[in-house]
Amino acid sequence: MPIEKKKLIEMYTTMVRIRTFEERAAKEFAAGKIPGFVHLYVGEESVATGACANLRPDDYITSTHRGHGHLIAKGGKTDRTMAELFGKKTGYCKGKGGSMHIADVDIGMLGANGIVGAGIPIAGGAALAAKMKGTDQVAICFFGDGATNTTRFHEGVNMASHWKLPVVYVIENNLWAMSTRTTDVSNITNITDRAAAYGIPAVAVEGNDVLAVYEAVGKAVARARKGEGPTLVECRTYRQRGHSEGDRQTYKPKEEAEEWKKKDPIPRFRKKLIEMGVLTEKEADKIDQEMLEELDKAVKFAEESPLPDPEEALADVFA
Protein backbone atom coordinates (compact mmCIF):
# COMPACT_ATOMS: atom_id res chain seq x y z
CA MET A 1 0.00 0.00 0.00
CA PRO A 2 1.48 3.37 -0.94
CA ILE A 3 2.30 5.64 1.96
CA GLU A 4 0.06 8.67 2.24
CA LYS A 5 1.55 11.98 1.20
CA LYS A 6 0.80 13.45 4.61
CA LYS A 7 2.74 10.66 6.33
CA LEU A 8 5.74 11.17 4.04
CA ILE A 9 5.82 14.87 4.77
CA GLU A 10 5.51 14.18 8.49
CA MET A 11 8.49 11.86 8.30
CA TYR A 12 10.57 14.45 6.46
CA THR A 13 9.57 17.08 8.99
CA THR A 14 10.46 14.82 11.92
CA MET A 15 13.89 14.06 10.47
CA VAL A 16 14.60 17.74 9.91
CA ARG A 17 13.26 18.54 13.38
CA ILE A 18 15.66 16.06 14.97
CA ARG A 19 18.60 17.24 12.86
CA THR A 20 17.92 20.87 13.63
CA PHE A 21 17.52 20.05 17.32
CA GLU A 22 20.82 18.17 17.40
CA GLU A 23 22.75 20.84 15.55
CA ARG A 24 21.34 23.45 17.88
CA ALA A 25 22.18 21.31 20.92
CA ALA A 26 25.78 21.05 19.65
CA LYS A 27 25.95 24.82 19.34
CA GLU A 28 24.47 25.45 22.78
CA PHE A 29 26.71 22.81 24.34
CA ALA A 30 29.78 24.42 22.78
CA ALA A 31 28.59 27.75 24.15
CA GLY A 32 28.54 26.24 27.63
CA LYS A 33 24.79 26.42 28.07
CA ILE A 34 24.23 22.65 28.38
CA PRO A 35 25.86 20.92 31.34
CA GLY A 36 27.05 17.31 31.38
CA PHE A 37 27.35 15.11 28.30
CA VAL A 38 25.42 15.20 25.05
CA HIS A 39 25.37 12.32 22.58
CA LEU A 40 23.98 13.47 19.26
CA TYR A 41 21.95 11.52 16.73
CA VAL A 42 23.06 13.37 13.60
CA GLY A 43 23.03 10.98 10.63
CA GLU A 44 20.70 8.44 12.23
CA GLU A 45 17.42 10.41 12.18
CA SER A 46 15.87 8.06 9.62
CA VAL A 47 15.91 5.17 12.12
CA ALA A 48 13.90 6.74 14.95
CA THR A 49 11.65 8.48 12.44
CA GLY A 50 10.89 5.45 10.29
CA ALA A 51 10.43 3.18 13.30
CA CYS A 52 8.22 5.50 15.39
CA ALA A 53 6.07 6.37 12.36
CA ASN A 54 4.53 2.94 12.93
CA LEU A 55 3.54 3.64 16.52
CA ARG A 56 0.48 4.95 18.29
CA PRO A 57 0.70 7.46 21.15
CA ASP A 58 -0.03 4.66 23.66
CA ASP A 59 2.81 2.44 22.43
CA TYR A 60 6.09 2.34 24.32
CA ILE A 61 9.70 2.95 23.41
CA THR A 62 12.92 2.57 25.32
CA SER A 63 15.89 4.59 24.22
CA THR A 64 19.62 4.93 24.70
CA HIS A 65 22.18 7.51 25.79
CA ARG A 66 21.65 8.95 22.27
CA GLY A 67 18.00 9.55 22.89
CA HIS A 68 16.84 13.01 21.74
CA GLY A 69 15.83 11.68 18.33
CA HIS A 70 13.78 8.85 19.79
CA LEU A 71 11.91 11.23 22.08
CA ILE A 72 11.17 13.69 19.29
CA ALA A 73 10.12 10.91 16.89
CA LYS A 74 7.72 9.57 19.55
CA GLY A 75 6.11 12.99 19.80
CA GLY A 76 8.27 14.86 22.28
CA LYS A 77 8.31 18.65 22.03
CA THR A 78 11.57 20.35 21.17
CA ASP A 79 11.08 23.16 23.70
CA ARG A 80 10.67 20.88 26.73
CA THR A 81 13.45 18.61 25.46
CA MET A 82 15.83 21.55 25.11
CA ALA A 83 14.78 22.86 28.53
CA GLU A 84 15.72 19.48 30.04
CA LEU A 85 19.15 19.65 28.39
CA PHE A 86 19.55 23.10 29.92
CA GLY A 87 18.66 21.67 33.37
CA LYS A 88 15.54 23.81 33.68
CA LYS A 89 12.37 23.34 35.70
CA THR A 90 10.27 23.20 32.53
CA GLY A 91 12.22 20.28 31.09
CA TYR A 92 10.60 16.88 30.68
CA CYS A 93 12.23 15.64 33.87
CA LYS A 94 12.26 18.95 35.77
CA GLY A 95 16.02 19.02 35.33
CA LYS A 96 16.64 15.68 37.03
CA GLY A 97 17.44 13.54 34.02
CA GLY A 98 19.24 15.72 31.51
CA SER A 99 20.17 14.68 28.00
CA MET A 100 21.19 11.13 28.84
CA HIS A 101 18.07 10.18 30.83
CA ILE A 102 15.34 12.19 29.19
CA ALA A 103 11.88 10.62 29.24
CA ASP A 104 8.20 11.36 28.88
CA VAL A 105 6.05 8.53 30.13
CA ASP A 106 2.92 10.38 28.99
CA ILE A 107 3.86 9.58 25.40
CA GLY A 108 5.20 6.11 26.24
CA MET A 109 8.86 7.14 26.16
CA LEU A 110 10.38 5.12 29.00
CA GLY A 111 13.65 6.88 29.04
CA ALA A 112 16.97 7.50 27.46
CA ASN A 113 19.45 5.49 29.45
CA GLY A 114 22.99 5.97 30.62
CA ILE A 115 23.60 2.22 30.70
CA VAL A 116 24.13 0.47 27.37
CA GLY A 117 21.49 -2.20 26.80
CA ALA A 118 19.53 -1.45 29.98
CA GLY A 119 16.38 -0.69 28.01
CA ILE A 120 16.22 -4.20 26.55
CA PRO A 121 14.63 -5.99 29.55
CA ILE A 122 12.63 -2.86 30.42
CA ALA A 123 11.03 -2.79 26.95
CA GLY A 124 10.23 -6.48 27.41
CA GLY A 125 8.56 -5.66 30.72
CA ALA A 126 6.43 -2.92 29.17
CA ALA A 127 5.46 -5.36 26.42
CA LEU A 128 4.63 -7.96 29.07
CA ALA A 129 2.33 -5.46 30.79
CA ALA A 130 0.55 -4.84 27.48
CA LYS A 131 0.15 -8.56 26.89
CA MET A 132 -1.12 -9.23 30.42
CA LYS A 133 -3.58 -6.34 30.21
CA GLY A 134 -4.80 -7.65 26.89
CA THR A 135 -4.16 -4.43 24.98
CA ASP A 136 -2.51 -4.51 21.57
CA GLN A 137 0.17 -1.99 22.52
CA VAL A 138 3.72 -2.70 21.41
CA ALA A 139 7.14 -1.59 22.59
CA ILE A 140 10.02 -0.59 20.34
CA CYS A 141 13.37 -1.04 21.96
CA PHE A 142 16.14 1.04 20.42
CA PHE A 143 19.76 0.16 21.06
CA GLY A 144 23.10 0.15 19.29
CA ASP A 145 25.42 -2.49 17.91
CA GLY A 146 27.47 -2.32 21.11
CA ALA A 147 24.51 -3.35 23.26
CA THR A 148 24.16 -6.66 21.44
CA ASN A 149 27.19 -7.92 23.37
CA THR A 150 25.66 -7.30 26.80
CA THR A 151 23.95 -9.64 29.27
CA ARG A 152 20.81 -7.51 28.93
CA PHE A 153 20.52 -8.40 25.26
CA HIS A 154 20.80 -12.14 25.79
CA GLU A 155 18.52 -12.37 28.80
CA GLY A 156 16.00 -9.81 27.61
CA VAL A 157 15.62 -11.15 24.06
CA ASN A 158 15.46 -14.72 25.30
CA MET A 159 12.66 -13.94 27.75
CA ALA A 160 10.67 -11.83 25.28
CA SER A 161 11.01 -14.44 22.54
CA HIS A 162 9.88 -17.26 24.79
CA TRP A 163 6.85 -15.32 26.00
CA LYS A 164 6.12 -13.95 22.50
CA LEU A 165 6.03 -10.43 23.86
CA PRO A 166 4.99 -7.55 21.59
CA VAL A 167 8.40 -5.94 21.33
CA VAL A 168 10.46 -4.89 18.33
CA TYR A 169 14.22 -4.59 18.70
CA VAL A 170 15.51 -1.80 16.50
CA ILE A 171 19.27 -1.99 16.39
CA GLU A 172 21.03 1.13 15.26
CA ASN A 173 24.24 -0.30 13.91
CA ASN A 174 26.21 2.90 13.51
CA LEU A 175 29.51 0.97 13.24
CA TRP A 176 31.03 2.43 16.38
CA ALA A 177 30.61 1.54 20.05
CA MET A 178 32.26 4.69 21.34
CA SER A 179 35.61 4.19 19.57
CA THR A 180 35.41 0.41 19.13
CA ARG A 181 34.08 -1.46 16.14
CA THR A 182 31.74 -4.20 17.29
CA THR A 183 33.39 -6.54 14.80
CA ASP A 184 36.72 -5.99 16.59
CA VAL A 185 35.35 -7.41 19.83
CA SER A 186 32.97 -10.14 18.65
CA ASN A 187 33.00 -13.02 16.16
CA ILE A 188 29.56 -12.01 14.93
CA THR A 189 29.78 -9.87 11.79
CA ASN A 190 26.07 -9.90 10.97
CA ILE A 191 24.05 -8.85 13.99
CA THR A 192 20.96 -10.47 12.48
CA ASP A 193 22.67 -13.86 12.91
CA ARG A 194 22.04 -13.51 16.63
CA ALA A 195 18.27 -13.82 16.16
CA ALA A 196 18.64 -17.54 15.39
CA ALA A 197 19.76 -18.04 18.99
CA TYR A 198 16.31 -16.94 20.15
CA GLY A 199 14.18 -18.39 17.40
CA ILE A 200 12.94 -15.01 16.17
CA PRO A 201 12.99 -13.40 12.73
CA ALA A 202 15.52 -10.74 11.87
CA VAL A 203 16.03 -8.39 8.99
CA ALA A 204 18.78 -5.94 8.10
CA VAL A 205 17.87 -2.73 6.34
CA GLU A 206 19.63 0.33 5.06
CA GLY A 207 19.09 2.49 8.10
CA ASN A 208 19.62 5.77 6.26
CA ASP A 209 16.63 5.01 4.05
CA VAL A 210 13.71 6.12 6.17
CA LEU A 211 11.18 4.27 4.02
CA ALA A 212 13.10 1.00 4.30
CA VAL A 213 13.12 1.40 8.09
CA TYR A 214 9.43 2.33 8.10
CA GLU A 215 8.51 -0.72 6.08
CA ALA A 216 10.65 -3.26 7.98
CA VAL A 217 9.66 -1.99 11.41
CA GLY A 218 6.06 -1.75 10.24
CA LYS A 219 6.01 -5.47 9.48
CA ALA A 220 7.61 -6.22 12.84
CA VAL A 221 5.12 -4.00 14.69
CA ALA A 222 2.18 -5.67 12.91
CA ARG A 223 3.58 -9.06 13.87
CA ALA A 224 4.01 -7.95 17.49
CA ARG A 225 0.47 -6.55 17.66
CA LYS A 226 -0.90 -9.84 16.44
CA GLY A 227 0.81 -11.60 19.34
CA GLU A 228 3.43 -13.34 17.23
CA GLY A 229 6.38 -12.08 19.25
CA PRO A 230 9.53 -10.05 18.78
CA THR A 231 11.53 -9.24 15.66
CA LEU A 232 15.02 -7.94 15.40
CA VAL A 233 15.51 -5.16 12.84
CA GLU A 234 19.08 -4.11 12.21
CA CYS A 235 19.32 -0.63 10.74
CA ARG A 236 22.74 0.03 9.23
CA THR A 237 23.52 3.65 9.73
CA TYR A 238 26.33 5.95 10.78
CA ARG A 239 27.10 8.25 13.66
CA GLN A 240 28.26 11.39 11.92
CA ARG A 241 29.43 13.15 15.05
CA GLY A 242 31.56 11.91 17.95
CA HIS A 243 30.38 9.52 20.61
CA SER A 244 29.62 12.58 22.67
CA GLU A 245 30.30 16.23 21.97
CA GLY A 246 33.99 16.94 22.37
CA ASP A 247 35.06 13.57 20.94
CA ARG A 248 37.62 14.34 18.20
CA GLN A 249 37.01 10.98 16.51
CA THR A 250 40.66 10.32 15.68
CA TYR A 251 39.81 6.62 15.40
CA LYS A 252 37.47 7.03 12.43
CA PRO A 253 38.93 6.70 8.91
CA LYS A 254 38.30 9.93 6.99
CA GLU A 255 37.11 8.09 3.86
CA GLU A 256 34.53 6.22 5.89
CA ALA A 257 33.09 9.41 7.31
CA GLU A 258 33.06 11.05 3.87
CA GLU A 259 31.40 8.08 2.26
CA TRP A 260 28.63 8.03 4.89
CA LYS A 261 28.19 11.77 4.63
CA LYS A 262 27.14 11.17 1.03
CA LYS A 263 24.53 8.72 2.33
CA ASP A 264 23.10 11.28 4.77
CA PRO A 265 19.45 10.27 5.28
CA ILE A 266 17.94 13.76 5.05
CA PRO A 267 19.12 15.06 1.65
CA ARG A 268 18.42 11.66 0.12
CA PHE A 269 14.84 11.58 1.43
CA ARG A 270 14.29 15.16 0.39
CA LYS A 271 15.49 14.36 -3.13
CA LYS A 272 13.23 11.33 -3.24
CA LEU A 273 10.16 13.25 -2.09
CA ILE A 274 10.79 15.89 -4.74
CA GLU A 275 11.20 13.19 -7.41
CA MET A 276 7.98 11.57 -6.20
CA GLY A 277 6.22 14.90 -6.47
CA VAL A 278 5.35 14.88 -2.78
CA LEU A 279 7.22 18.10 -2.11
CA THR A 280 8.64 20.89 -4.22
CA GLU A 281 12.06 22.39 -3.43
CA LYS A 282 10.26 25.40 -2.14
CA GLU A 283 8.01 23.39 0.13
CA ALA A 284 10.97 21.43 1.49
CA ASP A 285 12.83 24.70 2.11
CA LYS A 286 9.80 25.95 3.97
CA ILE A 287 9.83 22.94 6.30
CA ASP A 288 13.56 23.42 6.90
CA GLN A 289 12.94 27.05 7.71
CA GLU A 290 10.06 26.25 10.03
CA MET A 291 12.23 23.85 11.97
CA LEU A 292 14.95 26.48 12.35
CA GLU A 293 12.32 28.83 13.73
CA GLU A 294 10.90 26.15 16.01
CA LEU A 295 14.36 25.54 17.42
CA ASP A 296 14.98 29.25 17.90
CA LYS A 297 11.83 29.27 20.00
CA ALA A 298 12.83 26.09 21.82
CA VAL A 299 16.20 27.56 22.80
CA LYS A 300 14.55 30.79 23.83
CA PHE A 301 12.08 28.79 25.96
CA ALA A 302 14.94 26.87 27.55
CA GLU A 303 16.96 30.02 28.19
CA GLU A 304 14.07 31.93 29.69
CA SER A 305 12.72 29.05 31.78
CA PRO A 306 13.41 29.16 35.51
CA LEU A 307 15.99 26.91 37.11
CA PRO A 308 14.59 24.36 39.55
CA ASP A 309 14.57 25.31 43.21
CA PRO A 310 17.64 23.68 44.78
CA GLU A 311 15.41 21.83 47.26
CA GLU A 312 13.76 20.13 44.29
CA ALA A 313 16.74 17.74 44.54
CA LEU A 314 15.00 16.21 47.57
CA ALA A 315 11.65 15.52 45.89
CA ASP A 316 10.42 12.48 43.92
CA VAL A 317 12.59 9.79 45.52
CA PHE A 318 9.44 7.96 46.64
CA ALA A 319 5.87 8.19 45.41
Binding site: I115, P121, G125, A126, T151, A319
Partner: protein
Protein backbone atom coordinates in the same frame (compact mmCIF):
# COMPACT_ATOMS: atom_id res chain seq x y z
CA UNK B 1 -6.05 -16.78 65.38
CA UNK B 2 -4.15 -19.56 63.67
CA UNK B 3 -0.59 -20.79 63.80
CA UNK B 4 1.37 -20.66 60.53
CA UNK B 5 5.04 -20.53 59.66
CA UNK B 6 7.09 -17.75 58.08
CA UNK B 7 6.86 -19.22 54.56
CA UNK B 8 3.15 -20.01 54.83
CA UNK B 9 2.62 -16.44 55.99
CA UNK B 10 4.28 -15.15 52.82
CA UNK B 11 2.31 -17.60 50.70
CA UNK B 12 -0.89 -16.23 52.20
CA UNK B 13 0.25 -12.67 51.57
CA UNK B 14 0.95 -13.42 47.90
CA UNK B 15 -2.34 -15.25 47.58
CA UNK B 16 -4.44 -12.53 49.19
CA UNK B 17 -2.80 -9.73 47.20
CA UNK B 18 -3.05 -11.61 43.90
CA UNK B 19 -6.72 -12.28 44.59
CA UNK B 20 -7.32 -8.64 45.47
CA UNK B 21 -5.50 -6.98 42.59
CA UNK B 22 -5.26 -8.46 39.08
CA UNK B 23 -2.20 -6.34 38.32
CA UNK B 24 -0.14 -8.28 40.90
CA UNK B 25 1.93 -11.09 39.40
CA UNK B 26 5.00 -13.08 40.23
CA UNK B 27 7.99 -13.77 38.01
CA UNK B 28 11.20 -15.61 38.73
CA UNK B 29 13.10 -18.86 38.62
CA UNK B 30 11.10 -21.94 39.65
CA UNK B 31 8.24 -19.90 41.07
CA UNK B 32 5.76 -22.40 39.63
CA UNK B 33 6.98 -25.72 40.96
CA UNK B 34 9.48 -25.41 43.78
CA UNK B 35 8.89 -27.39 46.97
CA UNK B 36 6.80 -26.71 49.99
CA UNK B 37 9.36 -24.42 51.60
CA UNK B 38 8.97 -21.78 48.89
CA UNK B 39 6.54 -18.93 49.49
CA UNK B 40 5.06 -19.26 45.98
CA UNK B 41 3.93 -22.84 46.56
CA UNK B 42 0.67 -23.77 44.84
CA UNK B 43 -0.04 -20.27 43.55
CA UNK B 44 0.30 -21.64 40.02
CA UNK B 45 -2.71 -23.88 40.62
CA UNK B 46 -4.89 -20.91 41.46
CA UNK B 47 -3.53 -18.17 39.22
CA UNK B 48 -1.99 -20.06 36.30
CA UNK B 49 1.20 -19.49 34.35
CA UNK B 50 0.16 -16.00 33.19
CA UNK B 51 0.44 -14.63 36.72
CA UNK B 52 2.98 -17.04 38.17
CA UNK B 53 5.60 -16.71 35.48
CA UNK B 54 8.43 -19.16 35.60
CA UNK B 55 11.56 -17.74 34.00
CA UNK B 56 14.94 -18.80 32.74
CA UNK B 57 17.96 -18.22 34.96
CA UNK B 58 18.03 -14.58 33.96
CA UNK B 59 18.06 -12.30 36.98
CA UNK B 60 18.71 -9.24 34.85
CA UNK B 61 15.66 -9.93 32.68
CA UNK B 62 13.55 -10.76 35.74
CA UNK B 63 14.18 -7.45 37.49
CA UNK B 64 14.52 -5.43 34.27
CA UNK B 65 11.24 -6.94 33.08
CA UNK B 66 9.58 -6.19 36.40
CA UNK B 67 10.70 -2.56 36.12
CA UNK B 68 9.27 -2.24 32.61
CA UNK B 69 6.02 -3.92 33.64
CA UNK B 70 5.70 -1.67 36.71
CA UNK B 71 6.39 1.41 34.59
CA UNK B 72 3.56 0.25 32.29
CA UNK B 73 1.01 -0.15 35.07
CA UNK B 74 1.44 -3.65 36.50
CA UNK B 75 2.45 -4.52 40.07
CA UNK B 76 5.09 -7.23 39.68
CA UNK B 77 6.81 -9.30 42.34
CA UNK B 78 10.27 -10.24 41.08
CA UNK B 79 11.62 -13.32 42.78
CA UNK B 80 15.41 -13.36 43.01
CA UNK B 81 16.29 -16.55 44.89
CA UNK B 82 19.09 -15.18 47.06
CA UNK B 83 20.32 -11.72 47.86
CA UNK B 84 23.79 -13.02 46.95
CA UNK B 85 22.62 -12.81 43.33
CA UNK B 86 22.08 -9.07 43.59
CA UNK B 87 25.51 -8.49 42.08
CA UNK B 88 24.01 -9.76 38.82
CA UNK B 89 21.19 -7.22 38.92
CA UNK B 90 23.44 -4.39 39.99
CA UNK B 91 22.47 -2.12 37.10
CA UNK B 92 18.74 -2.55 37.63
CA UNK B 93 19.14 -1.86 41.36
CA UNK B 94 21.43 1.12 41.31
CA UNK B 95 20.47 2.74 37.99
CA UNK B 96 17.10 1.63 36.67
CA UNK B 97 15.01 1.57 39.86
CA UNK B 98 15.61 5.31 40.10
CA UNK B 99 13.35 6.00 37.10
CA UNK B 100 10.81 7.94 39.12
CA UNK B 101 13.34 10.44 40.38
CA UNK B 102 15.21 10.74 37.11
CA UNK B 103 11.97 11.28 35.18
CA UNK B 104 11.01 14.14 37.48
CA UNK B 105 8.46 12.24 39.58
CA UNK B 106 6.12 11.45 36.70
CA UNK B 107 6.13 7.71 37.19
CA UNK B 108 5.29 5.22 39.92
CA UNK B 109 7.26 2.02 40.11
CA UNK B 110 5.17 -0.39 42.24
CA UNK B 111 7.28 -3.51 42.43
CA UNK B 112 8.51 -5.93 45.08
CA UNK B 113 11.77 -7.83 44.91
CA UNK B 114 11.40 -10.97 46.99
CA UNK B 115 14.60 -12.68 48.03
CA UNK B 116 16.18 -15.07 50.52
CA UNK B 117 19.14 -14.21 52.70
CA UNK B 118 21.14 -15.05 55.77
CA UNK B 119 23.67 -17.52 57.15
CA UNK B 120 23.10 -20.63 59.25
CA UNK B 121 22.52 -23.50 56.84
CA UNK B 122 26.09 -24.09 55.64
CA UNK B 123 25.33 -22.56 52.28
CA UNK B 124 28.71 -20.78 52.35
CA UNK B 125 29.60 -17.42 50.90
CA UNK B 126 27.51 -17.49 47.70
CA UNK B 127 24.20 -18.24 49.41
CA UNK B 128 24.48 -16.79 52.93
CA UNK B 129 24.87 -13.04 52.80
CA UNK B 130 22.38 -10.41 53.89
CA UNK B 131 23.74 -7.29 52.16
CA UNK B 132 21.53 -4.92 54.15
CA UNK B 133 23.95 -2.10 53.73
CA UNK B 134 24.33 -2.57 49.99
CA UNK B 135 20.58 -2.22 49.80
CA UNK B 136 20.51 0.77 52.16
CA UNK B 137 23.00 2.51 49.88
CA UNK B 138 20.55 2.26 46.95
CA UNK B 139 18.34 5.30 46.74
CA UNK B 140 14.61 4.94 46.14
CA UNK B 141 14.36 1.41 47.53
CA UNK B 142 12.51 0.36 50.69
CA UNK B 143 13.89 -2.60 52.64
CA UNK B 144 11.84 -5.08 54.67
CA UNK B 145 13.51 -7.54 57.07
CA UNK B 146 10.77 -9.50 58.86
CA UNK B 147 11.62 -11.63 61.87
CA UNK B 148 8.34 -13.48 62.48
CA UNK B 149 5.56 -15.08 60.47
CA UNK B 150 3.13 -12.45 61.75
CA UNK B 151 5.37 -9.60 60.63
CA UNK B 152 6.21 -11.30 57.33
CA UNK B 153 2.58 -11.55 56.28
CA UNK B 154 1.54 -8.04 57.24
CA UNK B 155 4.68 -6.44 55.85
CA UNK B 156 4.63 -8.38 52.58
CA UNK B 157 1.06 -7.29 51.91
CA UNK B 158 2.10 -3.67 52.50
CA UNK B 159 5.19 -4.11 50.32
CA UNK B 160 3.06 -5.38 47.41
CA UNK B 161 0.65 -2.44 47.80
CA UNK B 162 3.49 0.07 48.00
CA UNK B 163 3.82 2.38 44.98
CA UNK B 164 7.61 2.19 45.20
CA UNK B 165 10.27 -0.47 44.75
CA UNK B 166 10.60 -2.62 47.88
CA UNK B 167 13.03 -5.42 48.59
CA UNK B 168 11.61 -8.06 50.89
CA UNK B 169 14.26 -10.22 52.59
CA UNK B 170 13.29 -13.58 53.99
CA UNK B 171 15.78 -15.31 56.26
CA UNK B 172 16.53 -19.00 55.69
CA UNK B 173 16.75 -19.73 59.40
CA UNK B 174 13.21 -18.48 59.98
CA UNK B 175 11.43 -20.59 57.34
CA UNK B 176 9.80 -22.96 59.81
CA UNK B 177 9.30 -20.53 62.63
CA UNK B 178 5.62 -20.16 63.46
CA UNK B 179 3.49 -17.34 64.87
CA UNK B 180 -0.12 -16.77 65.72
CA UNK B 181 -1.74 -14.70 62.98
CA UNK B 182 -5.30 -13.41 62.80
CA UNK B 183 -7.79 -15.18 60.55
CA UNK B 184 -8.88 -11.82 59.20
CA UNK B 185 -6.81 -9.56 56.98
CA UNK B 186 -4.18 -7.28 58.56
CA UNK B 187 -1.42 -5.04 57.28
CA UNK B 188 1.74 -3.78 58.96
CA UNK B 189 2.94 -0.41 57.68
CA UNK B 190 6.49 -0.06 56.40
CA UNK B 191 8.62 2.16 58.62
CA UNK B 192 7.24 1.14 61.99
CA UNK B 193 9.57 -0.67 64.40
CA UNK B 194 8.27 -3.22 66.85
CA UNK B 195 9.38 -3.50 70.45
CA UNK B 196 9.83 -7.25 70.65
CA UNK B 197 10.63 -7.14 74.36
CA UNK B 198 10.35 -4.26 76.76
CA UNK B 199 13.23 -3.53 79.13
CA UNK B 200 14.91 -0.73 81.02
CA UNK B 201 18.69 -1.23 81.16
CA UNK B 202 19.96 -1.67 77.59
CA UNK B 203 18.42 -1.18 74.14
CA UNK B 204 19.29 -3.90 71.66
CA UNK B 205 18.45 -3.32 68.01
CA UNK B 206 18.33 -6.47 65.89
CA UNK B 207 16.89 -7.46 62.52
CA UNK B 208 15.44 -10.66 61.11
CA UNK B 209 17.01 -13.85 62.56
CA UNK B 210 19.12 -11.80 64.98
CA UNK B 211 15.93 -10.69 66.75
CA UNK B 212 15.61 -14.25 68.06
CA UNK B 213 19.23 -14.30 69.23
CA UNK B 214 18.59 -11.00 71.00
CA UNK B 215 15.47 -12.37 72.70
CA UNK B 216 17.36 -15.49 73.82
CA UNK B 217 20.15 -13.35 75.25
CA UNK B 218 17.61 -11.06 76.94
CA UNK B 219 16.05 -14.05 78.71
CA UNK B 220 19.46 -15.13 80.02
CA UNK B 221 20.37 -11.59 81.07
CA UNK B 222 17.08 -11.24 82.91
CA UNK B 223 18.26 -14.02 85.20
CA UNK B 224 21.28 -11.85 86.02
CA UNK B 225 18.97 -8.94 86.73
CA UNK B 226 19.70 -7.04 83.49
CA UNK B 227 16.63 -5.82 81.64
CA UNK B 228 16.97 -5.69 77.83
CA UNK B 229 14.66 -3.87 75.45
CA UNK B 230 14.69 -5.52 72.02
CA UNK B 231 13.77 -3.28 69.09
CA UNK B 232 13.09 -4.85 65.72
CA UNK B 233 13.10 -2.08 63.08
CA UNK B 234 11.27 -4.44 60.65
CA UNK B 235 12.21 -2.12 57.79
CA UNK B 236 15.67 -0.61 57.28
CA UNK B 237 14.33 1.93 54.80
CA UNK B 238 12.35 3.71 56.07
CA UNK B 239 14.04 3.32 59.44
CA UNK B 240 11.92 4.11 62.49
CA UNK B 241 14.54 6.25 64.19
CA UNK B 242 12.10 7.64 66.70
CA UNK B 243 11.39 4.27 68.30
CA UNK B 244 15.11 3.56 68.65
CA UNK B 245 15.86 7.04 69.99
CA UNK B 246 12.89 6.77 72.37
CA UNK B 247 14.26 3.53 73.76
CA UNK B 248 17.80 4.92 74.09
CA UNK B 249 16.39 7.89 76.04
CA UNK B 250 14.97 5.38 78.49
CA UNK B 251 17.92 2.97 78.78
CA UNK B 252 20.91 5.20 77.99
CA UNK B 253 22.67 2.25 76.38
CA UNK B 254 22.62 0.82 72.85
CA UNK B 255 23.89 -2.43 71.40
CA UNK B 256 23.23 -3.34 67.78
CA UNK B 257 23.23 -6.96 66.75
CA UNK B 258 23.79 -7.43 63.01
CA UNK B 259 24.63 -10.68 61.28
CA UNK B 260 26.69 -8.96 58.63
CA UNK B 261 30.45 -8.30 58.84
CA UNK B 262 31.20 -5.29 60.99
CA UNK B 263 32.80 -2.95 58.46
CA UNK B 264 30.25 -0.97 56.49
CA UNK B 265 27.10 -2.64 57.76
CA UNK B 266 23.65 -1.54 58.91
CA UNK B 267 24.78 -1.51 62.54
CA UNK B 268 27.30 1.18 61.63
CA UNK B 269 24.61 3.31 60.04
CA UNK B 270 22.27 2.95 63.02
CA UNK B 271 25.16 3.76 65.39
CA UNK B 272 25.93 6.91 63.46
CA UNK B 273 22.30 8.05 63.59
CA UNK B 274 22.12 7.56 67.35
CA UNK B 275 25.53 9.17 67.92
CA UNK B 276 24.40 12.16 65.88
CA UNK B 277 20.85 12.54 67.14
CA UNK B 278 20.78 11.07 70.66
CA UNK B 279 24.33 11.41 71.96
CA UNK B 280 23.24 13.27 75.08
CA UNK B 281 21.14 10.34 76.21
CA UNK B 282 23.94 7.79 75.99
CA UNK B 283 25.59 6.68 79.24
CA UNK B 284 28.00 4.29 77.55
CA UNK B 285 29.65 3.78 74.15
CA UNK B 286 27.45 2.23 71.46
CA UNK B 287 28.39 -1.41 70.93
CA UNK B 288 28.12 -3.31 67.66
CA UNK B 289 27.93 -7.09 67.74
CA UNK B 290 28.52 -8.28 64.20
CA UNK B 291 30.09 -11.02 62.10
CA UNK B 292 33.84 -10.75 61.45
CA UNK B 293 35.13 -9.08 58.29
CA UNK B 294 35.33 -12.23 56.20
CA UNK B 295 33.13 -13.99 53.66
CA UNK B 296 30.65 -16.46 55.19
CA UNK B 297 32.42 -19.81 55.77
CA UNK B 298 30.97 -23.24 54.96
CA UNK B 299 31.83 -25.80 57.64
CA UNK B 300 29.25 -25.75 60.45
CA UNK B 301 31.92 -25.15 63.06
CA UNK B 302 33.30 -22.19 61.15
CA UNK B 303 29.87 -20.79 60.36
CA UNK B 304 28.75 -21.09 63.99
CA UNK B 305 31.83 -19.15 65.03
CA UNK B 306 31.11 -16.55 62.34
CA UNK B 307 27.43 -15.80 63.11
CA UNK B 308 26.96 -13.51 66.12
CA UNK B 309 25.23 -15.38 68.95
CA UNK B 310 23.74 -14.87 72.42
CA UNK B 311 27.12 -15.16 74.11
CA UNK B 312 28.61 -12.41 71.94
CA UNK B 313 25.67 -10.18 72.76
CA UNK B 314 25.75 -10.97 76.48
CA UNK B 315 29.46 -10.14 76.53
CA UNK B 316 28.87 -6.78 74.86
CA UNK B 317 25.99 -5.92 77.19
CA UNK B 318 28.01 -6.91 80.25
CA UNK B 319 30.88 -4.66 79.14
CA UNK B 320 28.71 -1.55 79.28
CA UNK B 321 26.74 -2.37 82.45
Amino acid sequence: MKEINYMQAQNEAFDEEMARDPSVFLLGENVDTWGAAAPSTRLIDKYGPERVRNTAISETAILGGAIGAAAAGMRPIASIMFVDLFGIIGDELINQLQMRYMFGGKLKLPLTIHTGHGAGVSAAAHHSKSLYVWLMAIKGLKIVVPSTAYDAKGLLKSAIREDNPVVFLTHKMLARLTSQVPEEEYLIPLGKADVKREGSDVTVVAMSFMVHRALAAAAKLQQKGISIEVIDPRTLVPLDKQTIIGSVKKTGKLVILDEEPKTGNAAGEISAIIAEEAFDYLDAPIKRVCAPDTPVPFSPVLEKFWIPDEDDLIKAVTEIM
